[in-house]
């Protein structure tokens, strides 16, 4: 029986145009909306897969404000059994603070008999792209950590995980407990069923106040800016299939035809 904790992040959608808040301190996502960070979707799917294969539980956790509860409910709708929200002023938090806040909750629960054998985190967040929360969390809990894992299973308390290395598919085997950061591409994200959505509405979210060991480290952010917009230089070669000769002229000019 493997109890899995999967830590997720609410992030702005990356399908639309990026706008910044007036003070340059945050992304203004009012018009594009929010979603679950991409790799986190796969981490949630892997958490429910491992929990159900071993008869354990999958708990979803986030560090955030009231609105982040929507993403916790999304994770419940696809199979997580319970949810924890660590209430924290995320604007003042950097990745070290997020990891520390999660570690404190994990330690407090362990002291009360609730342990998480496996902790899954998305490899990196689609908004801040810090690439370090999972590693920092593992050190804070004195656990081994694997990053960039695409698929994993637990057999007899031992974790067998697979990721892409520079010369092929790399396999890791280690005893639990452990922390794993999950990369998209090995586990299909799950989509909620109607009963799943109903359950997500009914399941209570456990709220916990963040307790950091000290003052927040912060993100070091001075300000956000948008890269300079290059004026469009597009040269339209034509419309429809009549443009084919012009396209092939270009391909020849670029030296990619008749090589």
């Amino acid at each position: 029986m493997t109890n899995v904790l999967v830590c997720i992040k609410r992030v702005p959608e990356t399908s639309g145009q990026v706008l910044l808040s007036e003070d340059g301190q945050s992304i203004d996502a009012r018009h594009v909306g929010y979603t679950l960070s991409t790799h986190d979707e796969c981490a949630v799917a892997l958490a429910t897969q491992i929990a159900s294969a071993t008869g354990g539980d999958a708990t979803v956790l986030t560090v955030g404000d009231d609105e982040a509860v929507a993403q916790l409910r999304d994770a419940i709708a696809v199979g997580c059994g319970s949810a924890v929200r660590i209430e924290a002023p995320t604007q003042a938090y950097g990745p070290a603070d997020v990891a520390a806040a999660i570690a404190e909750v994990v330690k407090a629960r362990a002291a009360h008999g609730t342990t998480y054998d496996l902790i899954l985190v998305g490899n990196d967040a689609t908004d801040t792209g810090d690439f370090q929360v999972g590693v920092r969390l593992a050190y804070a809990l004195d656990r081994p950590v694997l990053t960039g894992i695409k698929s994993a299973e637990v057999t007899g308390g031992r974790l067998i995980a697979r990721g892409d290395g520079p010369s092929g598919s790399e396999i890791f085997e280690l005893d639990l407990p452990a922390v794993v950061t999950v990369l998209e591409g090995g586990v299909e994200p799950r989509y909620p069923s109607i009963p799943g959505r109903m359950k997500a509405k009914r399941t209570p979210i456990e709220d916990v106040d963040a307790a950091l060991p000290g003052e927040p480290v912060g993100s070091g952010r001075v300000k956000l800016k948008l890269p300079p917009q290059k004026p469009s230089v597009v040269q339209v070669l034509g419309e429809g299939d009549a443009a084919a000769p012009a396209v092939v002229d270009l391909l020849i000019e670029l030296g990619v035809v008749g090589r």
């Binding site: 639309g16 070290a96 689609t126 590693v135 892409d164 520079p166 396999i171 085997e173 001075v222 084919a244």
Partner: protein, 332 residues
């Protein structure tokens, strides 16, 4: 002791990998601005051809090479490589630790940051040498930049791929080589790779190394809709790359995904068919030297950001291009 910048250098059978060469180029510039700091490299574990690597590092201006060796390094683990880098940081008193933004470089940087109680900036594009170190780094897949202050010593950062072109040092060096066996704890050794399975055909390498990539997005319409694109890719000796929606819908396999959470490509030519150009995808294809967009929406971001465009139905345009290529290359 003069200031030192330590770069974690990843090598493969061909020598120093491109991301690491880019990183060393940027680090050398920083070292020069940083009061003439010394550029050190750390190479961890077995290397096929030591002399080639030493020459490459010398051509990039490295003055000292720290070679971590030992049986425990035969199989990769992020923790062992990080332990080796941290030993070098401690012996040199390095002020800045830099790794390439490859998966391994990023993993090791995160470990090193925790072990040295440092803050870490990922996917940095420019470094300001002022104290404290301030960097600009990619967030939102590169659609926005964050100016970030790194107030710890060492400062730990990774360099985003393709933001700096590899350039040799004006005066090549012969690096002094310091061989050492790092000390590991049992915990460091727990996460070593147990075995590596070679993939029959390395699709990802074929995509990231392709000179021409033919891309398809939602506009392709179906799995069968890719047939014309596959044919075009064959005619140009290229590879297929797709947007995230295409893999989510199951039309094409995930290893073909180009974007923030897929491969980042830099081909000579990217032909984007039926791709709107959302941030997620643009993050992976913006380094293409030339982009040709084929789209029925003349206002789609992919069209306005491209160098060339054809407006219309890709299912009419792509077969016509294929016919035209065949017509012109018959008997060629």
């Amino acid at each position: 002791m003069s200031a030192t910048i330590v770069v974690y250098v990843e090598v493969d059978s061909a020598g120093v990998i491109e991301t690491a060469q880019e990183t060393l180029t940027l680090a050398r510039g920083l070292a020069a601005e940083h009061g003439g700091a010394a550029l050190h490299a750390v190479v961890v574990g077995p290397v096929d051809d030591e002399s080639t690597v030493e020459k490459q590092l010398g051509s990039l201006g490295v003055v000292e090479l720290h070679r971590a060796e030992g049986e425990d390094l035969a199989a990769y683990a992020g923790s062992t490589h990080a332990a080796a880098v941290v030993e070098v940081v401690q012996t040199t008193g390095a002020e800045v630790v830099i790794a390439g933004g490859s998966p391994r470089g990023t993993e090791i940087a995160a470990h090193v940051a925790v072990r040295t109680d440092a803050v870490m900036a990922a996917n940095v594009v420019t470094v300001d040498s002022a104290e404290p170190l301030t960097v600009s780094r990619q967030v939102m897949g590169g659609a926005a930049l964050e100016e970030m202050r790194l107030s710890t010593q060492p400062a730990v950062l990774t360099i985003a791929g393709h933001v700096c072109e590899v350039a040799p040092a004006p005066e090549p060096t012969v690096p002094q080589v310091n061989r050492f066996e790092p000390a590991f704890t049992d915990a460091d050794l727990r996460t070593r790779v147990v075995r590596t399975e070679e993939v029959e055909s390395d699709h990802t390498a074929a995509l990231t190394g392709a000179r021409v990539v033919v891309g398809g997005g939602r506009g392709v319409g179906s799995a069968d809709g890719f047939n014309d694109l596959l044919e075009l890719s064959d005619l140009l000796g290229g590879a297929i790359g797709v947007s995230r929606v295409v893999t989510s819908l199951g039309w094409r396999p995930h290893h073909e995904q180009v974007g923030q959470t897929g491969s980042r490509i830099s081909p000579d030519l990217y032909i984007a068919c039926g791709i709107s150009g959302a941030i997620q995808h643009w993050a992976g294809c913006q380094s293409a030297k030339t982009i040709l967009a084929i789209n029925n929406d003349a206002d789609a971001p992919m069209v306005t950001k491209a160098h060339y465009a054809v407006v219309g139905d890709l299912h009419e345009i792509v077969p016509a291009i294929n016919d035209e290529i065949r017509r012109r290359t018959v008997g060629a």
